[in-house]
Amino acid sequence: MSSALLKIHNITMQFGGVTAIDSLSFSVKEGEIYGLIGPNGAGKTTIFNIITGNYQPTEGNVNFENEIITGTKPNIVVQKGIARTFQNIRLFKSMSVLDNILIGFHNQTHYTYLEAIFRLPRYFGHEKRIRAEAMAILDEFNLTKYANHKATDLSYGNQRKVEIARAVATKPSLLLLDEPAAGMNPIETADLSNIIHKIKRDFNLTILLIEHDMKFVNHMCDLVTVLDYGEKIFEGKPADAIVDEKVITAYLGDFTHA
């Protein structure tokens, strides 16, 4: 494996005196599928929001492709090559599946506002290109036949796939998946993990994912970090995590609370 693509360095995040993340460090190497796991409220999504620039950490920094990106605006972070999905699916509700994917191509479509208004040649050239590319991505996800359907008319599992496809359309090198298998049945989950492996290979992706489901993580991830109350309690192979005493306690604690 090559060098680290993403380095989380000593991140601390406080919300009005409450510490959500406590000096957390880990790094993700190029080509890995890395899991961030832990019980509810452990601070996993907060880490995502720090990486994507939605939150400014109280301390520490995020290093991506050997550049510190902390403090970069979220839309610029995407252009640098980090794309994300959301825990609760957030598709563009009024738009078709194809249009949802086309939004992912926003920054790869190079015609100006005036070129669009006057319908100059670059408009047609770029629209034709991104439509073809978008259809190719839909094909990768077996969603071609839904291209003109309204995104929210699709099944839950397919909506998840559209959301991932939309993120892939931004041509990221790092893909952040926030609980991709949440709410899916075992068949959908199996289908999803095949697709994730496939797109990782076809689009040359590195993947950082948040997950609850230890079985899914065990099957998907090369390495995991386990968080509990904002602190790292384990880092290593998923198979070792399952038998780690601290991890078990954290999870059991979660179960008894729930």
């Binding site: 979220p74 959301f86 957030r90 738009m95 939004i103 931004t170």
Partner: protein
């Protein structure tokens, strides 16, 4: 290619219709459809920021006023200006501003767009619904400035003897241009980004969309065409005063875009025609009435009570209006897939 041919044919047919109506209608009917045409221009552009981009704004009356004053000052002949400014002498720059009608319209549109840009910086940098309240306030401020700068606007007396260039050929053609521009924006990366930020701003940002820029584009485009519409209005009415550009104007436009469907330009055109005629036909509501043998007093404002109830009911029970956020053509497309 097929769609290009259809487009050219539609434009040619519309232009023919405009010239036909211009030559054959009575002057009463013509002024009615000119009025509706101007409303259509304003509503189409208003729907871009409100419906397509989903940013609730209450600006049209302010930008219409800017466009109207700008255009009027450019097209009123210098001698007329010297006589007209009653309270103080006109400022030297006012006398220098002279241009033909299209340039004057363009100047009105550009002035509005420029002010929209200035407002974008404070308003779109922050989250929340400040656009609505800032634009509402802006409508009042413009009036205050028009009242208090007699050397530019002739104060409360307003401007009159504005040359009457805005016939139906001008208005009709600009309706077509506005409609085409809006449709071209909607079916481009910019229109998609506007709809995306309307549906879910955080998700749009997560796709790399610079939402500040997209909102500013939408707002400036709306303001530009509202300025142009204002210029047409000034030339059509030949007299303007600060009191013409009240919130009432914005309210009519709001009803049009809500009924037509927020985000639907074809819906807006249909609603502009319906409301345009409706306002004329319902004029009787404001005058004395005989109900069950009792004569009521004149009720100025009765139409507005009915229109505001109509707006509220539409929002509560038929939020999508006539066309939702779809264009007419999309209803046919959807059937095929």
């Amino acid at each position: 290619m097929k769609s290009l041919i259809i487009k050219v044919l539609l434009i040619a047919a519309s232009l023919w219709l405009i010239w036909f109506l211009h030559n054959n209608l009575s002057s009463y009917r013509l002024s009615m459809i000119i009025n509706i045409g101007i409303f259509a221009i304003l509503a189409l552009s208003y729907n871009l920021i409100n419906g397509v981009a989903g940013q609730f704004s209450l600006e049209p009356n302010g930008f219409v006023a800017i466009g109207a004053y700008m255009t009027a000052i450019f097209i009123i002949p210098m001698d007329t200006k010297l006589d007209m400014y009653a309270l103080t002498d006109p400022a030297p720059i006012i006398l220098q501003m002279q241009a033909n009608f299209p340039i004057a319209l363009l100047a009105g549109g550009l002035a509005s767009a420029f002010i929209a840009f200035m407002l974008s910086v404070p308003v779109f940098r922050v989250r929340g619904d400040y656009l609505a309240i800032v634009t509402l306030g802006f409508g009042f401020i413009i009036r205050i400035f028009a009242m208090n700068s007699p050397s530019y606007t002739n104060g409360a007396m307003g401007l009159n003897d504005i040359p009457d260039f805005a016939d139906f050929r001008w208005v009709g053609s600009i309706v077509i241009i506005t409609f085409m521009v809006m449709i071209h924006i909607i079916y481009s990366k910019y229109g998609r980004a506007m709809k995306a930020l309307r549906d879910d701003e955080d998700a749009a940002i997560a796709m790399g969309v610079n939402t500040f820029k997209i909102k500013t584009f939408a707002f400036m485009t709306s303001a530009f065409f509202e300025g142009i519409g204002g210029g047409l209005l000034a030339s059509f009415l030949t007299t303007i005063t600060p009191d013409q550009f009240t919130f009432l104007l914005t309210f009519y436009l709001l009803i049009i875009i809500v009924l037509g469907g927020l985000g639907s330009m074809t819906g807006t055109l249909v609603a502009a025609i319906v409301i345009g005629f409706g306002l004329e036909e319902l004029r009787f509501l404001d005058s004395e009435m005989v109900i069950f043998g009792f004569e009521t007093d004149a009720h100025p404002g009765m139409r507005m009570v009915i229109f505001s109830v109509l707006l509220i009911i539409t929002m509560l029970f038929a939020r999508r209006g006539l066309f939702g956020d779809k264009e007419l053509s999309e209803f046919f497309k959807r059937k095929q897939s």
